[in-house]
Amino acid sequence: MRRYLTYIKIFLRSFFVQSGWNYKSMLSIGFCFALLPVAKKLYKNDIVKYNQFVRRHLGFFNAHPYFTAYALGAITRLEEDVARNKGSEVQVERFKNALIGPFGALGDQIFWATVKPATFTLGVLAFLLVESFSARLTFLMLLGILYNLPHLYVRIFGMLQGYQQGFSICKHLKIDNFKFIKKTYLIVGILSICLVVGYIGTFWVGNDLFAMLVFVSSIIVSVYLKSKKAKTYLAMLLPLLIAIIVGLIKSRI
């Protein structure tokens, strides 16, 4: 029972993995903080080994915050092995460093570039389509569930799988293993954003050519400036300037 309590503590602490984020060691403070229950369990009465454990996990570490759960599970398993003299500290550190790349790439691709935009644009579409307060509130709750389903799946099963597989967790970290989440949310996101365009084009723009000009130019300008890696602020402000100029022209005609 005490063993499971340790894992639950690690899981709960994993929500604070970004605390102490810094440019020198990135996530290391939060990551080490999440692993402390293991250190307390393994080296409660040995300050030297406890400090060695902490030092090991204060080394540079960066990953997508949700995907850190995989690393926490695997490292917990490996640290338990080290305490039983079944592995070495050097292996743990090498393994941790090897995880940085895949975790960052996977998490950013799945969550920041797919799940988040999809959930949000679906929210915008729902806002446009339903008008009553209760319906909008219900939709808001549904969106919360829609976002947190893959989020909590990655956190909970990530930690479990990480613990079960140890070193072998690397094999699991391929985009193919998250194809279902990625494809589903990609379809939802694209459909939602396109229907938002359709709705705005029909009901906000209508037959007003000036409004159409502002809407289309805003999309083109922001996509173009973003693709050219121009300053984000310019991509946001230039369309507003165009809107004011078009408004001025229309008021003069």
């Binding site: 810094n22 902490v54 960052g104 929210g123 396109c194 938002v196 805003s218 922001s222």
Partner: protein, 197 residues
Amino acid sequence: MCSAIGLFLGDFQTAIYFGLFVQLIWLGNLPVGASITPEGNLASAIGCVLYVQFNESYIAFGQLLLLIVFFYTIIVSYFGGQLDVAMRKFNIRLFNYTISSINDQKKANVGKIAFLALLLQYSVLFIFILLTIHAGNLLFSNISDFFSEEYTPLWQYTNVAIVGVGVGMVMSVYKGRDLKKIILAVSIFGLILFKII
């Protein structure tokens, strides 16, 4: 966050209108690795408070409030991003302190350091929120004197432009030529669909 602000301030519909469309513009900024991105969520929440607060007093000016709150939100997001950078730099000191205490053979207190880092970050952000809302209050309660209702046509397309930027930002997240073609095709389909409905 904006929906919670709306519920708290008693105007859910206005808050969610502002929040959804303004937050759409931040989706294109992926917080990848150590990249510095505008603090969009915080700025949207601050903008939302001000938009709800001044919504009724600006009714005669059309979309002027939306325009100036949007500008203000972008400025706040920039300073919020810089504040994040400063906090991340400050956290290096906390990190160095932890390492030096381990080197001095003292028991490492990572828990306290993590808690301190969080406490500092939330305290600084709290002060930042209070200051920007206060500055916004001063600005928006006086700025309407400089505008006349006859200028209203100038900012009549503000909402259309903001949604356009939001759509563009989201589209920029979806990479690949095929995906862009699909988006274009489905958008045309969406347009036809709503025209028919």
